[in-house]
């Protein structure tokens, strides 16, 4: 075990896979000579050279399409899009091609690309740099979507995503690259499906993913220490497909559910989980599920307003207490 940072975990997965398989390449803006905006590809340019660590022009839809085309012939591109806000520009190729080509070719072609991109609100980056887009990606058939909440998952999910024959979108977070965590020194792989119980409890399930797992864990601590409520935290690192069985199993145990999400509520992770609960374990519920989401606005620049737009661990605590009539 070593304690490493989130970006180091991503870097390590790149390094190992590129060393193993000469067809694995990475590409993106400023990832090569500059080492990547978040250092996730630091040093790889020197090690693997410009043919395999590619500084792209600012042409998101273009280089994403190029990566998809290369993947038809067995290249395994890991595409970094500097921010999900810029991934909007690549959605044509991601959705119209990567997500559909295997299907519409009747299984003849595959598009084994990995697209990594950080989303989320950071610090005052303003309306055009604060998108949370996981809900958009997870709504598209033919695309796998995962979202790590710690360095271990960042490593294990990327390792599997590179080897998986489906296109995989990895939703990272701008604020999490310097987060530290334990990662096994021995090579390992994480499934691209399922969920993890990050904290076991019996009174309520708090569903989180990516950054909101941390709000849920913090909230669970406060609820246990100050309010005698024993919350379970389920980490939904796979957003598409979502872990229906895992969701149902936890709710059937605790009989209550809350979903914490950083995005606006509409057509979101929370609404999807509520639907799954409805479909799988409605009669297990002791109370209607609730969601804690962002306010439905573009993100303001002003710091105070920005904070007011995005949920916190405190908001999770408040929502749980309300649910328990406290």
């Amino acid at each position: 075990m070593s304690e490493i940072m989130f970006w180091e975990a991503i870097r390590r997965a790149h390094d190992e896979e590129m060393s193993r398989d000469p067809m694995v390449i990475c590409m993106g803006e400023d990832i090569g000579v500059a080492g990547g905006t978040y250092k996730a590809t630091n040093g790889l340019f020197d090690k693997f050279g410009p043919e395999r660590v590619i500084d792209t022009p600012i042409s998101e839809n273009g280089y994403t399409g190029l990566g998809i085309g290369a993947s038809y012939l067995g290249v395994r591109p890991i595409i970094e899009i500097m921010s999900v806000n810029f991934a909007w520009l690549a959605m044509d190729q991601m959705f119209n091609t990567a997500a559909k080509v295997h299907y519409m070719s009747g299984g003849q072609l595959k598009a084994p690309v990995v697209i990594r991109s950080p989303g989320g609100t950071a610090h005052q980056l303003g309306a055009q740099h604060s998108a949370r887009m996981e809900k958009v990606f997870m709504g598209i058939a033919g695309l796998r979507v995962v979202t790590p909440s710690n360095p271990r998952q960042a490593y294990g999910l990327l390792k599997s995503a590179i080897r998986c024959d489906d296109p995989v979108f990895i939703n990272e977070h701008e604020l999490m690259y310097n987060m530290k965590g334990e990662v096994d020194d021995k090579e390992f792989f994480m499934p691209l499906v399922g969920s993890e119980v990050a904290r076991s409890g019996k009174d309520i399930t708090l569903f989180g993913y990516n950054i909101s797992v941390h709000w849920c864990l913090q909230a669970a601590d406060i609820l246990a220490k100050q309010h005698g409520i024993d919350a379970e935290v389920v980490d939904l690192y796979a957003l598409s497909p979502l872990d229906r069985e895992g969701i149902a199993a936890s709710v059937s145990k605790t009989h209550r559910a809350l979903i914490a999400e950083e995005a606006e509520p509409a057509v979101g992770v929370g609404s999807e989980i509520m639907a799954i609960i409805n479909e799988t374990c409605f009669y297990e519920l002791d109370a209607p599920p609730v969601r804690v989401s962002a306010v439905n606005v573009p993100i303001p620049y002003n710091h105070t307003l920005e904070k007011a737009a995005i949920p916190t661990a405190q908001d999770v605590v408040k929502a749980v207490l309300k649910m328990f009539g406290k």
């Binding site: 500059a34 042409s59 309306a127 055009q128 620049y301 002003n302």
Partner: protein, 330 residues
């Protein structure tokens, strides 16, 4: 260009430099947040072009490196600074920030954070101008690396096929963040890329405000006379990192030194001094007055202004009280 105009431009450019450098300090003091992209070194581009344009009449837009274009268009520097301070007195009430300065009453149509986003928007403004029959033009400033977006090619094509009154100004500072132009772009001279669209174009020294002004006059005359779009490439250099989180580590030091010898402000100043139009003392006085104004008026205003109230969080998400939301019934 007569000497009074030159002196005024010197004043405006020096003001712009001091304004940006003061933003740098305010960022270090954490008064300004988010991403901050400074224009220091590139002043002759905006001032040369917009001096030749009719500000408050022509429409202007640019990228996230937008403070100075807004100011030259007539947006009060006080409200620009207040915006950077995220105050309710800011030009966007603290909702926009550095990358999103807007001044619609001065026809400054905004700063945009997505590289390449403004190309088609500027063509759209030109389309509207044409429909309305006015003699305004649309001016779009963007960087060199933005030309690798599809929107560049798509917009040039539409602008020409419909002969829209739009002037594209490429501020070629040789880098897109840390990637040098020749590593990302097959044709380094950007004006050449436009010839495939049958749009006239020119490349000139973007450090000499008089050269920029003359080239812009020609370009604007072409666009305003109804002959369709024009592309002007200005060779320039940014002094600061791409944004505040960038240290310029990737740039050769001798390249930086070479460009610092071609400072647009110093070149104009020395020209005025050599012509006997002003003395070094005059210049120092001018600089001191500018620094005082920035501190005593602009920073003071930004510091003392209140933050936007919490109620503003949702206010501009959609247009308020639009009767058509209810099908027009009252």
């Amino acid at each position: 260009m007569d000497s009074e105009v030159k002196k005024r431009l010197l004043h405006e450019m020096l003001f712009a430099r001091r304004f940006e450098e003061r933003c740098y300090e305010a960022y270090v003091e954490r008064k300004i947040g988010g991403f901050l992209h400074l224009y220091s070194g590139e002043e002759a581009c905006a001032f040369g072009v917009l001096e030749a344009a009719r500000v408050n009449h022509d429409y202007v837009m640019t990228s996230y490196r937008d403070h100075i274009h807004a100011i030259k268009c007539g947006v009060d520097p006080k409200v620009v600074m207040a915006e950077l301070y995220a105050k309710v007195t800011g030009c966007c009430k603290g909702l926009g920030g550095s990358m999103h300065i807007f001044g619609a009453e001065h026809r400054f149509m905004g700063g945009y954070a997505l590289v390449g986003g403004p190309f088609p928007l500027a063509a759209g403004i030109a389309k509207a101008i044409k429909m309305k029959g006015g003699d305004e033009i649309s001016i779009c400033f963007l960087g060199d690396a933005a030309n690798n977006q599809g929107t560049f090619h798509e917009s040039l094509n539409m602008a020409k096929v419909w002969d829209l009154p739009v002037l594209y100004v490429c501020e070629n500072n040789l880098y897109g963040i840390g990637t040098r132009i020749d590593r990302s772009t097959a044709v380094v001279d950007q004006y050449k890329r436009v010839s495939g669209y049958n749009i006239p174009s020119e490349q000139v020294d973007g450090q000499d405000v008089e050269v920029v002004y003359a080239a812009a006059q020609k370009a604007i005359e072409h666009v305003r006379s109804g002959k369709g779009p024009y592309f002007l490439e200005l060779m320039t250099y940014r002094y600061r990192g791409h944004s505040m989180s960038d240290s310029n580590a990737y740039r050769p030091k001798d390249e930086e030194r070479m460009w610092s010898k071609r400072d647009p402000i110093i070149m104009l100043r020395d020209r005025l001094i050599d012509a006997g139009e002003m003395s070094l003392e005059d210049y120092k006085q001018m600089d001191g007055d500018i620094l005082d104004k920035i501190e005593d008026e602009i920073i003071k205003f930004a510091e003392e202004s209140p933050e936007p109230p919490l109620e503003m969080l949702e206010k501009y998400t959609l247009v308020e009280n639009d009767p058509w939301v209810n099908g027009g019934s009252v």
